[in-house]
Symmetry: C2
Subunit: 223 residues, 2 copies
DNA sequence: GTATACAAGATTGTATACGAAGAGTACGGG
DNA sequence: CCCGTACTCTTCGTATACAATCTTGTATAC
């Protein structure tokens, strides 16, 4: 998708994807000032679709907007990270529980394969790749969620995490090991046809544990 | 709020509030076609801010949008109702649990007073009023939630329910009685300083029970 | 030297205008 | 009488233009 998926024939959509991609890949780093006219010129379009795209990103929390001033890329504010992770722990836990009855052996196998890659990845410690695999793993588990609203919230949460490229595992290496183990436990729980409530609790705890590890780390190592 | 709260000095905001209010009060009923130029003329502004307002409402799920066709007010699609209620049960449960430690005796008293009004309201059966009080009651319980993301999701859920004016209690009168009793139980649980997990479970169950009652009713009385 | 007032520049907010896509309708052919 | 096609009409999508607002730099008074 080299040019940021631009086949919608809607300039607004193109602008949205383009800006979002640039935030994700770090071209627009946190605090960067997004000027409508500038982006419009770069994309060769008018400011109107750009403005619409920015507002969408604002609604998703990827940028902050101030009236008559403009938009800036949202940062890695630790408190925002906490909010996002806590929210994600709740909605992802629910999504995983809701989709668990729809997860078949093929899905389990796929997730397990990804987790093995992660385990392997532990050796040469590559946080970005690990984070990517981590998302792949969880995607398998929650993507079957039959409630599109909840699924949408999960996607938003992950989107925000991707934009604030903290990657947690970069800061708390020890957490990566635990994470892989918890993944396997979660898979076994789902395989055994456990109660939805148990799966939800496990999935939520798995994420809060990552958050707690981050908080403990930043508490000990204040920037 | 006679003219739909219009002091923001932003026409986009005014349009948003205005259209949202008209959806809530039924002026724009489900399926109603929202034509940009028409609304713009009615409000005495240009189509640009109106368009922005409509897109915001679309993001919140109050209207559905189709490219090159336009927006229509979202309906009471039972399946959408299910999705919304299920999502709300999860996020409201979490919000209530998170805010429970911050709920003081004054809040409890206020909530209890509202619940008494509801109990009284049972006599002369006034669904719209009952629904309004119901929201007031729960607002006291979740409004202290320290995580603004979660709180925002709760507000969105309630906003959608308000737009699809189904009011449940209109359809399932029996549920109203149970609801009042569960409210009292929930208050006692919070008063007793119960575990957050227990409060969350109770709050979630309270809402799913309403949903289930609705589903049972529509299952028995298919329209 | 510092603080304040003012002006110039930059950027957003809104209006108007035009082009594009879809829905409905009338006409002609089968 | 039914179906397909072309046309018109409505409405959205985007561009351009202008007004409103904020920020910033500078000059002046104290």
């Amino acid at each position: 998708m080299g040019d940021a998926g631009t086949a919608t024939s809607s300039k607004s959509e193109r602008a949205y994807n383009s800006v979002k991609a640039r935030i994700a890949d770090g071209t627009y780093s946190p605090g960067f000032r997004l000027v409508l006219a500038k982006i419009a010129e770069e994309l060769g379009i008018s400011v109107v679709p750009v403005r619409e795209a920015i507002r969408r990103l604002e609604a998703e929390g990827l940028v902050t907007f101030e009236r008559n001033v403009g938009a800036t890329v949202a940062g890695i504010d630790p408190i925002e990270y906490l909010y996002t992770m806590q929210t994600l722990s709740i909605v992802e836990g629910a999504a995983t529980a809701l989709s668990s009855p729809l997860i078949g052996p093929a899905d389990i196998a796929r997730a397990r394969a990804v987790n093995e890659e992660m385990r392997e990845c532990l050796q040469h410690f590559d946080p970005p790749r690990f984070t990517l695999l981590n998302k792949d793993f969880h995607s398998v588990l929650f993507e079957n969620c039959p409630n599109p609203h909840i699924l949408n919230l999960v996607h938003r949460g992950w989107g925000r995490l991707a934009s604030m490229r903290s990657s947690t595992f970069r800061f708390v290496p020890g957490r990566a090991h635990e994470s892989v183990e918890e993944h396997e436990a979660l898979l076994q729980l789902i395989e055994s046809g456990a109660d939805a409530a148990d799966i939800e609790r496990a999935a939520r705890l798995h994420r809060s544990a990552t958050l707690d590890a981050y908080l403990a780390q930043t508490g000990a190592h204040p920037s």
